[in-house]
Point group: C2
Chain length 224, copies 2
Amino acid sequence: MAAALEHSKETIAMRVVDALRDDIITMALKPGDVISESDIAGRYGVSRQPVREAFIRLAQQGLLLIRPKRATVVKKISPTGVRQSRFIRESIEVEIIRRVAGQPSDDAADVLQTLIADQEAASAANDSRRFHTLDELFHRTLARLAGVEYAWQLIDDHKMQLDRVRYLTLGVSSTQRAIAEHKQIVEAVAKADPAAAETAMRAHLARAELLLNQTISDFPDFFE
Amino acid sequence: MAAALEHSKETIAMRVVDALRDDIITMALKPGDVISESDIAGRYGVSRQPVREAFIRLAQQGLLLIRPKRATVVKKISPTGVRQSRFIRESIEVEIIRRVAGQPSDDAADVLQTLIADQEAASAANDSRRFHTLDELFHRTLARLAGVEYAWQLIDDHKMQLDRVRYLTLGVSSTQRAIAEHKQIVEAVAKADPAAAETAMRAHLARAELLLNQTISDFPDFFE
DNA sequence: CCCGGCAGCCTTCCATACAAGACGGATAAT
DNA sequence: ATTATCCGTCTTGTATGGAAGGCTGCCGGG
């Protein structure tokens, strides 16, 4: 895992952050794993200092837990934390979809239709990685249409817990169903029907609860 | 300002974080001010290392802006950032108040009534600092009653921008009006009327928009 | 006057050494 | 056999020196 740091970002610390976050989300580093500054530093051939700063950043993002003078561990996934992250996301996305459906711009429906077409292509090609990216883009586009794209960035920070769960269920999730639900949402937007849009959005997000419960029983060691 | 670090927390870095955050929110450090690691380190009599880590943490919380190899500045307040923080808060608090008013627990109204009484006392004593604390507690209590107290912590992180604005308007805000609005909210909860509760909550939060606009014209240098 | 280069000073960034707490196992006393 | 204590070894926390890059202003050539 993670042989050489990609020298994409400016500082070493940033590169370490990106590398570690990727390892954590893709479960190369599993919840509960114990790591240490010198460990990671040696693995990447850098000094402890930038690794330490990376730890601080990732700890603030809820991916690591620094136990002073003891050790640093990859944080286990907190079910209640995930549920409340979902609560937050639902609150915001419902408000977003109300705005978009309430005063849809002229090209809103068209843009969303195009995205769904791409998703169908990705689904047909069985490219779940790309499908995931497009799914995210779909929701981000809704935020942009509501004029609160900045708010989505903010969700992003607290969405990584959900992403870890999602990664564990990559093959499981039925892309067909997700696409159908997206279509319902767009349909409501086209009709400028906020109430229907809200209902469709809530139904769409509610599925995550089922996945979470299944994942907990499949990988109990990864949860608190 | 901030003579000796209160030795409340474990590590020096944490103490520096608390001290700096307090200075920023209370406007002892003004938006646009340039600071440096050695500057702060000398001021508190510690080495640069813990200061540097404090900078990283505060930068991730959006209070500082680290410009690599150049300098570190107290971030100016972004009006659109504040508006979108408000959007997020409104989304979540509306969802919360719906839940609370939809299925109010037995003692919900009583607890809230007590808080309002305390607020009236603080208002009568002209203790705006305490009033602010109680106002925050009111909203946090609502989150607890809805079973999503963790979610409130999460709001807290992104509420500091709003707090800086609020501090600039300490004497301005009419506590009487806020109390009246709180009463309306509690009344709707007591009647178990989610729609009325939602309306009252939105009206309550909407006032912040006016304060923001006035503050921008009063302190243009503090905004982007 | 105008403009390009260069030097000095500033910053953050990185490396390294040391300090101090926490843990585990060996060891010795009971 | 059991238990308390100490010591080696891990960890993160702090201090400090130097590296690398950016900014300013002087200075000299046009």
